[in-house]
Each structure stands twice: as structure tokens, then as C-alpha cells.
Symmetry: C2
Subunit: 303 residues, 2 copies
């Protein structure tokens, strides 16, 4: 069961973090860029795939998981989408759990098409085909159950999982998500309660089910309250590092065993070489990954 | 200004409808399928592009606009994404306004990456590149202004527009969107008020601005109330035909000049040949398109 697989990979690495491959051409050191033709989408996409491959090789023994943000690949068109697919396959082949951060959303058969594209298989004449296969996808809940249940069906059939946006890491997440309903809940709490219902019955051996939640690491108190409210919901926590959150901010979003969440960091790892003033991006990312791991594990131990 | 262009195309055709190219292999008649290899994603994608091309040729003089649902292309992987890009380009070259129904959503630089992918241009070393260029994209508002403002910036720079999900056509849209806030508004009304603010100042000559709204044609009373609430917001109305809405259901979502909205129909046009029991899908789609046009125009005249 894929959530158990993720939990066991985190336990084995003693590191609940995800490498966020939100990779952009501008993030690559000049010495690396110079090996590729950055004037074409094909050249930029090749460079990004090669960068991702070297980072995964440098970090796979200490980080159990990658999150790949599709927007940065989509903006490079077809060549970018190929680099997205190849990045996901490369990370999977390296033994990592792969989360595609696609925030897809629609209804009924259209939602099912997205689920097949990213988590399942598309039926063809007498055969089937996997477009952009990964282990988990992020999804947006604004359309309600009609949008989520087709994903959950594919998750059950294919042993996959989703992370539903609940309380996102950005400042303006408050505009819609923090509005107060007439029953006293916030909108994001009402969404959280839906996520609980969508996931119910798909729990694995550690008590966590296939319908996870995206909760911004930048909201310590709200995240800790959601941890209490959603005991069977695994959390994906963006916002560490470049967005400002640190280990102590997210300690309350883990359960008492130190499980139940994975923390994503993208720019702070991808661009660690800039802060450390070196062109050796892989060594810089490894130093930052170890610092991040220790920061989180110390915050968990200090609870 | 692209919203004016859309309005003038609708006025010229006397037909406020969009051809929804949510094209799937199963929607093609057997005599058409037999020309392609449906056992590979490449073959299925080629068939879908050819089908779209013939439909656009058959309908371009009576329908001003297409809406392309990316999920059905994404599920065919890279070959599908190529058919998506080529379908959008083909429709544009045929003189139609092109809406990409992608429901993308993220924050900050990631939202900007999506906007560049679908509405703008991606900067490369000393040059730039358009990945999947269209005139309008649909977007999801759950992340608030951080997600929408990057799209609006690209819309201003590139003369494009967006349609923000406000009240969707599906039954479970009520779960989240109809929840009542402590100030008495529903969630979708609060989103509508945000959309008004996001669009403000980008009005064209007909008073409509670049931040449109998706409003389900399946909700006549709510849609009519939104028309009153959002006088400068152009509406994209899904839900006609296969989802159950007819001309009289959506008459209240147009302004007094009969402007302000475009109605999408997908399956009822793509699969008109099934209902009419013929393999001549283009002629069948044309008959259904004329029936739909007359249904809507009569409902507008009867107000």
C-alpha cells in the first residue's frame, strides 16, 4: 500500500523530507548551463532533466521522496512534458517515492482522465497506456466529491494516493480558505472534513489512508490543529526553506510517533549552491538536505 | 482586446456557443476509427486531432469559439499533449477563439509558469517560446490572489483572458461552493466578489474585463443572480446538452443586449452522430449546432 511504502521509506531514511524538483533553467549554475543549448525548449528541458538526475543521485540515500512541480515543465511545452515524465521515471527507478504536484481538478469522466494520466492507465483498443505515471498526485477540492471520487477510485485500483489542497502555504490562502462559515468552521476546516470522508476505509497499516492533505508548513498553529482533526490523513507540507518555515514550525503537524507528514523543500535545495557560493550544486544540495533533516528531526525530538 | 474579439465573433455568428473538444477515441465512429491505429497513444492522438480538424471545418462558419479540455489529451501522454497543442493551433488558424480548459492553479512564480505555458511566452536564453498558446485559460481560485494575479499580469501583457471557476455545473459543486459564510454570502458569491476585484480596470469596449467566470448552465437561478452581481464579468457556461441544461435555463446569464456569456457543449456535439444514428459525424454535429444556436437565441428573444 503506497502510503505505507512512503512511511517506511521515511522511517528507513530517518528523514521526512521531499526533494521538490521545481527546476528552472535560471536555477542551474553557469558551468552546468554551458553544457546545454538554453536557447531552445529542448535544450533547456534536457538540462533540467540532467540536473534532476544528478541531484537525485546525490540525495537518494538521504531523501526518500521527490515532488515534481509540473508547471515548470509545462512552460517548456512538449519538450518540457517529456522532461517531466522522464524525471518522474528516473526518480522512481532510483527507488524514490514520486509525488506529481499537478493540482489537477475537474468532474466525473474528466477527473477520471486526469487520474488515469497521472496515477493510472488509459484504456486503448485492446491495451492500455500510462501517460505520466507517479505514486501520488496533488488535487484541488473546489469542485467537491465529483472531482475527488474518480481519483480515489483509480487510487484503490492502482495502489496510489492523492494530496488534496486544504490549507496552502501562501499568504493569500487566507482569502478563501480562512473564511468563516455560518457553522463556525473555516472553509479549510470544512474541506478537511471532506478529505477525512474521502479517505475513510483506505487506511494502511500505520493508520493513514490514500486521501492525504496539503497543509502549508508556514501555518504552525493551524497545521497542528489539523493534525488533531485528521488523525488518519497523511500531510504534504510545502513552505519549508525559501517560503520561511523551519523545523519548529511544523513539529506539531507530525503524530506522536513522528510520522504522518512529509516536508517539501524546492528552491532551498535546488539553489543551495547560490547560498553556499559554489558551482558544485550536488554537494551544496546534500549539505542543505542534511541540515534540513537535522533541523526537522531535532524539532520532533524536542516536542 | 481579446474579450472584445470574442464578443464580436459571437455577434457576427449570432451564436454564443463554444465547441467543446473533449474528444475521446470512444467518441469516434467506427468508420473513422478504422483509419487509425487505436492501439497506441500516437494513433489515438492522431485520430482525435483529425476528428477535431474535420469538426472545426464543418462548424467554423456557425460557431465562433472552441474550448479544449486538456485532461483527455493528457491521458494520452506526450502524443496527447501534442494533439492538444495542434488542436488549439488548428482552431486558431481556422479563425476561432480558443479557450484551454486546464483549470490550472498554484501560487506566485508557479502560477506565472502556468500562465506562460498556456497564455504567454516562456523566456529562454536571449529568446522566448510559447508552449501551448491559446486565448483564454480556465483557472481555479482556491489559492486566492497569489494564484490569480500572475495570470492577470500575463493577460495584460499578452492580451489574453481567464475564466475563474465560480459556480461549477456538477451536482457536488454545492458541497464547497454553496456553503454559507458568517456574513451571509455563499462561498461562490465570495469567490465572485474576488473575481470582480481581479478583473477591475481591464474592461474592453463592451464593458467586460479579462477575468471571466465559469458558471454552470445547470444552475439557472444562481447564474442569473451572478449576472446581476457581476456586470463586467464575461461568463463561460458549461453544462448545456449532455449535462442537462437548455436555452431557457441560461437565458438569465446574458445581459440585456444578449451578450456577456458563451455556452459550451461538448458531448452533444462530438457525439451527435450517435443520437442521429449516422456515421457522418460532421453533418450530425452541424445539425445539433444549429439546433443549439436556435434554442439559445429563441430563449434570449423570449425574455
Amino acid at each position: 500500500m503506497i502510503v505505507d511504502t512512503l512511511i517506511e521509506a521515511i522511517d528507513a531514511a530517518k528523514n521526512p523530507t521531499a526533494l521538490g524538483l521545481d527546476t528552472r533553467w535560471e536555477y542551474l549554475p553557469a558551468s552546468f548551463q554551458s553544457q546545454f543549448d538554453g536557447t531552445t525548449p529542448q535544450g533547456a528541458a534536457e538540462a533540467i532533466l540532467a540536473y534532476n538526475t544528478q541531484l537525485v543521485a546525490a540525495l537518494r540515500d538521504i531523501i526518500p521522496c521527490v515532488k515534481v512541480q509540473v508547471a515548470y515543465y509545462e512552460m517548456l511545452g512538449l519538450a518540457g512534458m517529456q522532461a517531466f515524465r522522464d524525471t518522474c521515471q528516473m526518480a522512481k527507478a532510483a527507488g524514490m517515492v514520486v509525488i506529481s504536484d499537478v493540482k489537477r481538478n475537474d468532474i466525473g469522466a474528466t477527473s477520471e482522465a486526469y487520474a488515469m494520466a497521472h496515477l493510472g492507465r488509459t484504456p486503448l483498443d485492446g491495451t492500455e497506456f500510462a501517460g505520466f505515471p507517479t505514486d501520488f498526485a496533488t488535487v484541488n477540492p473546489y469542485l467537491g466529491s465529483d472531482g475527488i471520487i474518480p481519483f480515489m477510485k483509480v487510487c484503490q485500483e492502482e495502489d496510489k494516493g492523492i494530496f488534496v489542497l486544504v490549507k496552502t502555504s501562501n499568504p493569500s490562502s487566507s482569502e478563501l480558505q480562512d473564511m468563516v462559515l455560518s457553522d463556525g468552521r473555516t472553509v479549510y476546516e470544512a474541506v478537511a472534513d471532506r478529505v477525512i470522508a474521502w479517505g475513510q476505509g483506505s487506511e494502511g497499516r500505520y493508520g493513514y489512508n490514500r486521501a492525504g492533505a496539503v497543509v502549508g508548513a508556514t501555518h504552525p498553529a493551524q497545521g497542528a490543529a489539523l493534525r488533531q482533526r485528521m488523525p488518519h490523513t497523511f500531510f504534504l507540507l510545502p513552505g519549508y526553506g525559501a517560503q520561511g518555515a523551519s523545523g519548529k514550525d511544523l513539529a506539531g503537524m507530525f503524530d506522536m510517533e513522528g510520522r504522518g507528514a512529509v516536508v517539501n523543500a524546492s528552491r532551498s535545495l535546488l539553489c543551495a549552491w547560490k547560498k553556499q557560493d559554489t558551482q558544485d550544486f550536488a554537494a551544496a544540495a546534500r549539505r542543505e538536505a542534511l541540515r534540513m533533516r537535522d533541523d526537522i528531526m531535532q524539532a520532533l525530538a524536542a516536542r
